[in-house]
Symmetry: C2
Subunit: 362 residues, 2 copies
């Protein structure tokens, strides 16, 4: 029986040889390692990096490279082996995505997205059959520490980007960690945060989908999601979590496609949402804003307590922000815009969530 | 502004060229595709398969193979490129794991782990600082559709295996789907299911850890987890979810290391758990059961309502099941054992959860 009892011991010896990747050093440099014995060319593409870093082949067919000292942040990355994007199979930190799955590495530095020894909220994963969309949908709900339905907390709807899963804002965006930490610092009001799967067309984000190339399909994607959010998700949230039911206690914001959806839904329903945020917004289902908002009035815009758009100046979508915020101002809206450095990256969106959430419900 | 508004359209054209992998055909064959232009040898290892399937190089450096017709199931898999395990970067279905990250593909066939149009439960993700373990821990809680704290539901503690994350039983095991479906069929009692991170030693499962090779470390892993489960997780669950607090309303079960933990904790606390299940159990922190259970009496064993062990006959751990169940019978326990075909695979564990849950709380 000894042999049988020790059955799993064999695992231990196998593991002794394992390649470690990524390896984060105390000086905030990071070594990436990739096993590819017959590859001709291996590099690592790091989120926010200007160009892929060439890797050098070493013993055992293990390619490696060490970065310079990096700013504390969470970096998405993937390997490129002879021109083909490949995951780091040694790193359990995966960026879930419907099209571009990647890895993540955290360079620590006491940032707001790093877990601290504070009271923690809970993340609830809901599933339902959507009549509006004709498919099973899911959404996540963050409740802060000490949550009670009786408190009638305000609620933020937080929308992911194109190709993300519903888990994007928690798994990659660390929304629950950011909110726990801001709450512990007294920088935000306690709030419930709803993170729904953001596609009104079931297979809108698929590797071979037509997606944004088909205008009607894009419009369906936005409008069916709008219907599902307002008539299916919202009542479930208000019933299950007892959240406040007035517009001054509701915010909607999101990144990229989710930023465009936030503007699309929020500005059509200023009687429902008094806070709207668009982070690196893009993918709007119209050439001109007036096609989407033919009836938007100055009075409707005046209801808003805070309307914010932020985008990186290296992001191709900066033009949308400038154009759209300009159009809104012409309509009489009070809109605040921010232009940061950087591109279309999660580093910007974690900071955007942190900044926007501090403006709400005060 | 038109150009800016259309910024994301560029994505659509990029996607047209994407390699699709895996591709499940109507006859239940599956085509796997792997881009590796300079590789010499590429194969795919499929969970439960006897040997890796050789892949053939085609146009554009894309290797592929099509399986024979497969039984409806969820198959874990990974590619081997020149002897190195590699993920399928085209497949968003990832098997989360602390050491061996892999992919999954579902061959559909109306099985109990496939989502159906039934009422859905909710999966809650909790985080806390464990004093017993000295690190942040997490656990998932499944509540059935129509859950109310007032119902004082029975509770199952469901433990993952070595190298799994706390999300193993939901992401890979589809526990929430299985329980939703069984409940809709009237085959199980409504119950709350608790799925904790199962390591009492914080970095017990790491690529270069000593793990089971170190007996004291393994014992610490089991006993600190036991303390955390009983004195930290259990009170939180009972307080947050109002679950029943009598032993006849509590079950503990798990797979592999989690099966051994279920036996370890359950048999030491027959005043707390009246249902115990071990699925492919292994990794026990002792050579002989009496070292772990020096005081276990026939009277204590007689409290149990159901004690079940199941294991595949191709699994190296079948010897543990035979030896341990024999020892229990010698001690006077009423233990039911099952030997199925197959090895150390999730196919067995999903079925084990389905079978075991139908025996509970009746």
């Amino acid at each position: 029986m000894l042999k049988a009892l020790l059955g799993l011991l064999a695992l231990a010896s196998v593991q002794q040889q394992a390649v470690v990747s990524p390896e984060v050093h105390p000086d905030r440099t990071v070594t990436f390692r990739c096993e590819a014995p017959n590859a001709q060319d291996v590099s690592v593409s790091i989120e926010g990096g200007k160009a892929a870093l060439k890797m050098t082949k070493g013993a055992g067919g293990v390619w490696s490279v060490t970065t310079g000292s990096l700013e504390p942040d969470i970096y998405g990355y993937s390997f490129n082996i002879d021109g083909k994007a490949t995951l780091d199979s040694h790193n359990p930190a995966i960026k879930p995505n419907l099209i571009w799955v990647g890895n993540m590495v955290t360079v620590p530095g006491k940032q707001v997205w790093e877990p601290r020894n504070v009271s923690k909220g809970t993340v609830h994963h809901h599933f339902f059959q959507s009549k509006a969309i004709g498919a099973e949908r899911d959404f996540f709900v963050y409740t802060p520490p000490g949550f009670s339905k009786a408190k009638k907390l305000p609620v933020m709807y937080l929308l992911h980007g194109f190709s993300d899963m519903a888990s994007g804002w928690t798994e990659v965006g660390k929304a629950h960690v950011i909110l726990d930490n801001l709450l512990a610092e007294g920088k935000i009001k306690p709030m419930v945060v709803v993170m729904p799967l953001g596609y009104g067309v079931p297979d809108f984000a698929s590797p071979n989908g037509r997606n944004f190339g088909d205008r009607q399909r894009t419009l369906n994607n936005f409008t069916r999601f709008e219907t599902s959010l307002l008539t299916e998700v919202r009542p479930m949230v208000e019933s299950n979590y007892g959240t406040a039911t007035t517009a001054d206690k509701r915010a909607i914001c999101g990144l990229s496609m989710g930023g465009a959806e936030s503007l699309f839904i929020g500005l059509k329903h200023t009687d429902t949402f008094h806070y709207i945020g668009g982070f690196s917004s893009g993918g709007f289902p119209a050439n001109k804003p007036e096609e989407v908002f033919p009836h938007l009035t100055k009075a409707q815009l005046a209801r808003l307590k805070y309307l914010w758009m932020t985008c990186g100046t290296d992001d191709g979508l900066i033009g949308f922000q400038r154009g759209f915020s300009g159009w809104l101002k012409d309509k009489g809206a009070k809109v605040e815009t921010q232009e940061t450095g950087g591109g279309h990256v999660w580093m910007l969106w974690r900071r955007a969530l942190s900044a926007f959430s501090q403006k709400l419900f005060k």
